[in-house]
C-alpha cells in the first residue's frame, strides 16, 4: 500500500526509489505496442519475444558486450544508437523472411508457429552460439542504466502517437478491415498479404527497439528474459487493455507491470492474487479495458468519460456571439 500512496502523493520520491521499475514499465509499454500492431490487423503472433532478443543481443554485442571468455565481437564498439539501428534492421529482415511463409497461417496456428520460431531461436541459436555466450548470458559493461529511462519513455510516447495517427490512414483502415473479415477485405481489393506483412515487420522493429533499450537497463542480459513467458506476457497486456485503441495495450502493460509491486504486501501469495486479478479482468471485461461499443463503433464508457470531460472543458470557452 505504501507503494501506491507514495506514487500518488509523492511522485518524485517514488520515482527516485523506483527508477528501474519506471524504465521497465516503459519497455513493457513498447512491447505491448509491438504486439498491438499485429493484433490490430487481426493476427495472433507470438514472435515478439524473439525479435526483442534480436534487438537486445545486437545492441549489447555491437556496443562491446562480453561473454565469460572475452569480448563477444572483438574490436567492435559501435555507438548505442547505431547498434540499436542494426538490431532493428536485423529484426525487420528476419521478420520479413519468416513472415513470407508464416503469415499465411490463421488464428492459433499462426500463434503456435510464431511461438515455435521464438523458442527455436532461443534454444537453437542463442543457447549454442559463442557470440551470444552460449546461454551463460552476456555482460553489458556499457549499460546506460537510469540515463536510459528518458529515451525509453520518449520512444514510447512518440511511437504511440505515430501508431495512433496510423490508425486513421489507409494502412490503418486496411488493418481494421482485415481484422474484421479477411475475405471481405480481399474482395474490396485490399492487398491482404502486404498489409499483414507491414504490421508484422513494424511490430518486430518496435519489439527489437524495446529489447535493445531494455537490455541497457542492466549489466547482464540473459536468454531467460526472452522466453515463451515473455511472449505470453505481451499478449496478456494487450488483451487486458483491449486492442481497439493504441492506448489499451499500453495501459494494460503499465497496470500489470506495476501490479506485482503493489501486491508486494501479499508476500508469498503475490502470484496467486495476480492470477485471480487476471481472471477477474477478462471475466468482467472480456474485450479489454478500452473497447468500442458493439455495433456502433463508438468508444466504450471508459474512453467516453474522457471525451465528456474534454467536451465540457471546450464548452467553457467563450462562444462567439450569435449574429
Amino acid at each position: 500500500m505504501a507503494f501506491l500512496t507514495q506514487l500518488l502523493f509523492h511522485p518524485f520520491t517514488w520515482y527516485h526509489a523506483h527508477q528501474l521499475l519506471a524504465g521497465q514499465i516503459g519497455v513493457d509499454g513498447l512491447l505491448a505496442l509491438s504486439i498491438w500492431l499485429t493484433l490490430y490487423s487481426g493476427q495472433l503472433t507470438l514472435a515478439n519475444a524473439g525479435f526483442m532478443a534480436i534487438g537486445a543481443y545486437s545492441s549489447v554485442i555491437l556496443t562491446g558486450g562480453t561473454t565469460s571468455t572475452g569480448p563477444a565481437a572483438a574490436g567492435v564498439h559501435l555507438p548505442l544508437a547505431v547498434a540499436m539501428l542494426v538490431g532493428i534492421a536485423l529484426a525487420a529482415l528476419v521478420a520479413f523472411v519468416i513472415g513470407l511463409p508464416v503469415l499465411r497461417l490463421k488464428g492459433v496456428f499462426l500463434a503456435i508457429a510464431t511461438l515455435g520460431f521464438g523458442e527455436a531461436l532461443r534454444y537453437g541459436l542463442i543457447l549454442n552460439l559463442g557470440i551470444t555466450g552460449k546461454g551463460q548470458g552476456l555482460n553489458n559493461p556499457h549499460a546506460t542504466l537510469t540515463s536510459g529511462i528518458t529515451p525509453i519513455w520518449l520512444a514510447l510516447v512518440v511511437l504511440a502517437f505515430l501508431a495512433w495517427r496510423l490508425t486513421g490512414t489507409k494502412t490503418g483502415h486496411a488493418w481494421a478491415a482485415i481484422r474484421e473479415d479477411q475475405l471481405a477485405a480481399a474482395a474490396q481489393g485490399i492487398d491482404v498479404a502486404r498489409y499483414k506483412m507491414v504490421a508484422f515487420v513494424l511490430g518486430a522493429m518496435v519489439a527489437a527497439l524495446a529489447g535493445g533499450l531494455g537490455a541497457h537497463l542492466s549489466f547482464l542480459i540473459d536468454s531467460n528474459d526472452y522466453t515463451f513467458t515473455q511472449a505470453i506476457a505481451m499478449l496478456i497486456w494487450a488483451v487486458v487493455g483491449g486492442i481497439a485503441f493504441v492506448i489499451g495495450p499500453i495501459v494494460g502493460a503499465v497496470l500489470l507491470t506495476i501490479l506485482p509491486e503493489v501486491l508486494r504486501f501479499t508476500q508469498d501469495y503475490r502470484q496467486v492474487i495476480n492470477g485471480i486479478i487476471l481472471i477477474a479482468i477478462v471475466l468482467f471485461r472480456p474485450d479489454g479495458l478500452f473497447t468500442r461499443r458493439k455495433g456502433t463503433g463508438n468508444p466504450s464508457r471508459l474512453l467516453r468519460g474522457w471525451a465528456f470531460i474534454r467536451r465540457s472543458w471546450a464548452s467553457r470557452r467563450p462562444q462567439p456571439a450569435p449574429p
Partner: protein, 306 residues
C-alpha cells in the same frame, strides 16, 4: 548399436507421455477453439498429488495413481467452472478464455511453489520450488535385461497404457453416442444444442477426461524421469504438447498419437547425432510442419467458409 536402440526406446517411452498429454490439448481445442494453458499444470498437479500420497501419506503406489488421476479430473471441473464457462456465458472471444486459463495456471504453480513445511498446504507439498524424487522402494522399479538392453518395467507399462487408452478413446469418439455428441459440438455447438445435445455437459465431461489424461501423463512422467517439481508442467510439456498436436494434426486422436511418438523419436535421434540440447528440435519440426502442411500429418484440410 545397443546405445542407439536404447535411445530409440527411450524416445518411444517419452513420446507416449507427450502423446497422452497432447491428447487433452487437442480434445479441448477441437471442442472450444481455446488453447487450455492450464493443462500443463494439471499434469504437474497429478504428479504432485501422487508423490505426496506415496511419500508423505504412505499410500500404496497402485492406489495413489488412481487418486492422482481423480484429482486431475476434479481440476478439470475447476478449469471449466472458473476459467471457461463464465466467459462462454458472456460470449467472450477465445483469446479471453486463453488468458483466463493462463491466470489459473499462474495460481496453481504459485500455490504449489509456496507450499512449505508448516504452511497451510503442507499436506499436499512441502518442498517449495525444489525438485523431489519418489522414495526408493515405494514405486515399481523392476528392470528387465533383454539382449543387453535395459527395459524398466514401468516404462514398458507406460507405452502399453498409452496405446490402450488411445485405442479406447478413438473407439469412443468414432462409434459411441457420447463420441458423436462431442463431434457434433465440435462441428457446430448451436446446431448440436438445437438437436438436443447438452452442450455444457459435453464440454464439462471432455474437460474432466482430458484433465484426467494430463494427470496420468504427469504421474507417468514423474515415474519415468523421477523428477517432480512445481515447474515440470511449464518447463517440460507445455510447449512440447503444442508441437505434438501440430505435428499430428489439430483435433485428431490418432494424429496426436503419431505426433507424440514422432517428437519423442526426433528428440532421441537428435541426442544420438548431435548430443546436444534437444529442445530446439521440437520447435524446428513444429515450424517446418506448419509451413509445409498446416493441418498436420493426419489433420483434415479445412478451408474457411464464406
Amino acid at each position: 548399436m545397443r546405445n542407439t536402440i536404447q535411445q530409440l526406446l527411450n524416445g518411444i517411452f517419452i513420446g507416449s507421455i507427450y502423446a497422452l498429454f497432447g491428447l487433452g490439448y487437442t480434445l479441448v481445442f477441437g471442442l472450444l477453439d481455446v488453447l487450455n494453458l492450464a493443462h500443463s499444470e494439471v499434469f504437474m498437479l497429478g504428479a504432485v498429488v501422487t508423490y505426496s500420497l506415496v511419500a508423505l501419506h504412505h499410500v500404496p503406489f497402485l492406489l495413489a495413481v488412481p487418486l492422482g488421476i481423480v484429482a486431475g479430473g476434479l481440476l478439470g471441473l475447476v478449469i471449466e467452472f472458473v476459467a471457461l464457462r463464465p466467459l462462454r456465458r458472456r460470449g467472450a472471444p477465445p483469446i479471453a478464455a486463453l488468458i483466463s486459463t493462463i491466470g489459473l495456471a499462474l495460481i496453481l504453480v504459485a500455490l504449489i511453489e509456496q507450499a512449505k513445511r508448516g504452511s497451510a498446504l503442507a499436506w499436499l507439498w512441502r518442498d517449495g520450488a525444489n525438485d523431489v524424487q519418489f522414495p526408493a522402494g515405494k514405486v515399481p522399479d523392476r528392470i528387465w535385461h533383454l539382449a543387453g538392453l535395459t527395459l524398466p518395467v514401468d516404462k514398458l507399462a507406460i507405452v502399453v497404457i498409452t496405446v490402450a487408452l488411445m485405442a479406447v478413446l478413438a473407439y469412443v469418439m468414432a462409434k459411441t453416442p457420447a463420441g458423436r455428441a462431442v463431434r457434433a459440438v465440435a462441428e457446430n455447438p448451436r446446431a448440436a444444442q438445437l438437436l438436443g445435445v447438452n452442450v455444457d455437459r459435453v464440454i464439462t465431461i471432455t474437460l474432466v477426461v482430458s484433465s484426467a489424461l494430463a494427470a496420468l501423463a504427469g504421474i507417468l512422467f514423474a515415474l519415468a524421469l523421477n523428477d517432480i517439481s512445481p515447474y515440470i508442467g511449464r518447463d517440460q510439456v507445455e510447449l512440447r504438447g503444442l508441437a505434438v498436436i501440430v505435428l499430428g494434426g489439430m483435433g485428431s486422436i490418432p494424429g496426436t498419437f503419431i505426433g507424440g511418438f514422432t517428437l519423442g523419436l526426433l528428440e532421441s535421434v537428435t541426442i544420438l547425432t548431435l548430443g546436444t540440447d534437444v529442445r530446439a528440435v521440437g520447435f524446428v519440426a513444429l515450424f517446418v510442419m506448419l509451413i509445409l502442411r498446416p493441418s498436420g500429418l493426419l489433420g483434415r484440410q479445412t478451408s474457411e467458409r464464406v
